[in-house]
């Protein structure tokens, strides 16, 4: 079997034991890697209803068959667990040296089980596994933690760590790697913290199994060079993702004031042009020649690496338009190990709830210094406010009540990323049906909606486009595992990934083979949710009600007077379910499950609810 090491490293932190297990070709071909591996293992091994922050949850680290090889944007690793934020399947991917080092150490999957009684970190070097005391780094931020571990193990080591957010079980704590990279929005860092696992360091020395090593190396290096050239020609990485802010502001899709507004006259102060002008450094993921990590100095003088989600959620959504202050909030999130998207949404919701008299407090939109103080409280779970903010918008709204659920900007418990869909039906559907809760990584359909469809259409073409993009973004790029940016941003043909996959595995797959795996993974992710929430119904795929509220319509600008319409959204959801072969509750039918080779999984889910 080429393309996969075939090895799983299973580590139990309760009794500090580990063993090497293997998986066969059938498993590899059915689930491919990354998200596919993580999902299937969590489905098979977790009992439904377990406490996500208890010893029964498992932290999965998994890579794909092209991960870590020299080819465009293959430096990514998936981290996954049952989410403490949503209660469903949760994962994320991040650029990290762990990708290559894990493959060289001889593993495609690491399963971390149990719970240590004391803070520790893991050192993995090929077959050697050490459980080391984390006394010197527990309680420290991710920057100090990484510096400590790099000093000890060298800059080339693969390092994943949590900050104080994960240690204190903040429900949107992430796992950090390198400078500005983080993954696992649905609280995967909190799962790591619950296991008292501060960090994982990995080094490997074995060859990565590739069917055509010479051919792949030549092709991969050549393509890395070509991608770098296209980036230079097009200038994409001059602003990277941050160019999106000015565009969203023009088309009324920017998150402003807890997404109550869609544009703001001061947005230019924090846009990609200003960021590029303030740049002091640029960082990127391993195996990347289009580095997008624009780094500026924050208000306190730290280096802070920003992308669009950061400036959207910690800037415009909080009505903070001082770039160095937005950078400070971003730095704090990175250091505490908090998700910047959820943190921005949580603070905005808190300010909005205070503004509407639903809760008493002294935080107002635009107050950067207070926002910093609140981030610290949320990361450390300091006091009543810290504990409230650490639990995410869904639980905050449940506690605050007073109708605040309508403007708690999340889907399935995961905060909505920086696209205000007050009048963007297809993108609202993308958030609604995102399989880990609202995340833009699954399907970014706004450009299509505006350019090739009609903004006010709720037609089947939008459901089809959402599914097409989910297959590519939430499917292919999450299971082979690679960054999607060369594909759209630089026009790098999607068929390159089929070529890499086939050169690495020695197989002869087509894109249709990838789409079948993607559909299988999407169906099983839905089964995972249904098994956890047997009374599942389609309202779980709704975006927040405020997007349907005419009283929330813009009073001026491109979408003045317009909001989403619920009856039309329902119809759009029907188109989506029909095209996926799911029932009106949004659950895959038996026939669909069988066509995707999920017969056993369907039988398991039928213990909890009847399938159509």
């Amino acid at each position: 079997m080429y393309g996969w090491t075939g090895n799983i490293l299973r580590i139990n932190l309760t009794n500090r034991t580990h063993k090497k297990e293997t998986f066969d070709e059938q498993f590899a071909l059915k689930w491919v890697g990354g998200r596919g591996f993580a999902l299937k293992i969590l489905w098979d091994e977790l009992k439904p209803g377990i406490d996500p922050l208890g010893p029964e949850n498992k932290l999965i680290i998994s890579v794909g068959p092209i991960a870590g090889i020299p080819a465009p944007n293959t430096g990514k690793t998936v981290v996954a667990a049952k989410s403490p934020l949503t209660g469903g399947y949760g994962d994320g991917n991040l650029g990290t040296r762990v990708t290559e080092q894990m493959r060289k150490a001889g593993y495609d999957i690491i399963i971390i089980e149990g719970q240590s009684d004391k803070p520790i970190y893991l050192y993995i070097e090929d077959d050697k596994i050490e459980y080391l005391p984390a006394d010197e780094i527990w309680g420290k931020g991710t920057y100090d933690t990484h510096a400590y571990l790099y000093k000890k193990y060298g800059k080339g080591a693969g390092v994943l760590s949590i900050g104080q957010g994960g240690e204190n079980l903040n429900l949107y704590a992430m796992i950090r790697s390198l400078e500005g990279r983080a993954g696992g929005r649905p609280g995967i860092g909190a799962v790591m913290g619950s296991k008292k696992l501060k960090a994982i360091v990995i080094k490997g020395s074995k060859p990565i199994p590739v069917a055509d090593p010479d051919g792949m190396r030549k092709l991969g290096l050549d393509d890395l060079r070509k991608v770098g050239e296209i980036d230079k020609q097009t200038g994409w990485s001059i602003q990277g993702t941050t160019g999106v802010l000015a565009w969203c502001n023009e088309v009324a899709a920017l998150p402003v004031r807890n997404m109550r507004k869609t544009h703001h006259p001061d947005a230019w102060k924090i846009d990609g042009e200003r960021l590029n002008n303030a740049r002091v450094a640029t960082y990127g993921c391993p195996n990347c020649t289009m580095r997008c990590g624009i780094t500026i100095l924050d208000h306190e003088g730290h280096e802070s690496e920003l992308d669009y989600e950061n400036i959207g959620m910690l800037g415009s959504n909080l009505e903070i338009f001082e770039l160095d202050q937005v950078a400070s909030l971003n730095y704090l999130c990175d250091d505490f190990g908090l998700d910047t998207i959820s943190a921005g949404a949580v603070l905005a919701f808190y300010a909005d709830a205070i503004d509407h008299g639903a809760i008493k407090g002294d935080f107002r939109f635009g107050d950067a210094e207070k926002a910093k103080e609140l981030l610290r409280k949320a990361a450390l779970r300091e006091g009543e406010v810290g504990n409230l903010l650490a639990d995410g918008t869904m639980r905050m709204a449940q506690r605050i009540g007073q109708g605040s659920e309508a403007y708690a900007m999340h889907v399935k418990g995961l905060e909505i990323s920086a696209y205000n869909c007050k009048f963007i039906p297809g993108m609202a559907l993308a958030f609604g049906t995102s399989p880990i809760g609202a995340h833009h990584k699954e399907s970014w359909v706004i450009t299509y909606e505006l350019k090739q469809s009609q903004r006010d259409s709720y037609g089947p073409e939008k459901a089809a486009k959402v599914i097409e993009l989910q297959r590519i973004r939430g499917g292919l790029f999450e299971f082979i595992v690679a960054c999607r940016f060369p594909w759209i941003e630089l026009g790098w043909d999607i068929n390159h990934y089929t070529t890499y996959f086939n050169k690495v595995t020695g197989l002869n797959w087509t894109l249709d083979d990838f789409w079948k795996v993607a559909d299988r993974i999407y169906a099983l992710m839905k089964f995972f949710w249904v098994r956890e929430f047997p009374d599942w119904n389609r309202t779980k795929d709704y975006p927040p009600m405020i997007w349907f509220d005419p009283a929330n319509a813009d009073t001026e600008g491109p979408i003045a007077g317009k909001v989403l319409e619920l009856d039309k959204y329902e119809k759009l959801l029907d188109f989506y379910y029909e095209q996926r072969g799911w029932d009106r509750r949004g659950i895959p039918t038996k026939k669909t499950a069988e066509a995707l080779d999920l017969k056993e999984e369907a039988a398991e889910v039928e213990k909890f609810t009847k399938l159509e």
Binding site: G235, G243, E250, L450, I488, P558
Partner: protein, 75 residues
């Protein structure tokens, strides 16, 4: 008539301006604006007029705001 042209992302560096007013003859179209700018015609882009996507043959009005952006896949 006068129309404001706003560029997004790397187009600013390609053309050397971020936003400017241009003078156009009456009944000018979006296509005329695009062809007056040295942007690679093969490069995928999305053009909006006053925040709404437009067809290239759409006629502009005095005071319109035309935004030209490359295609993104998200942040």
């Amino acid at each position: 008539m006068k129309v404001t042209v706003k560029l997004i992302g790397p187009f600013i560096n390609t053309l050397g301006f971020s936003e400017k007013q241009i003078e156009l003859p009456a009944e000018a179209t979006v296509e005329m604006v695009l062809s007056s700018l040295p942007l690679d015609p093969a490069r995928p882009k999305i053009v909006t007029r006053n925040g709404q996507a437009v067809a290239l043959n759409e006629k502009l009005k005095d005071g319109d705001r035309v935004v030209i952006s490359p295609i993104y896949s998200g942040g």
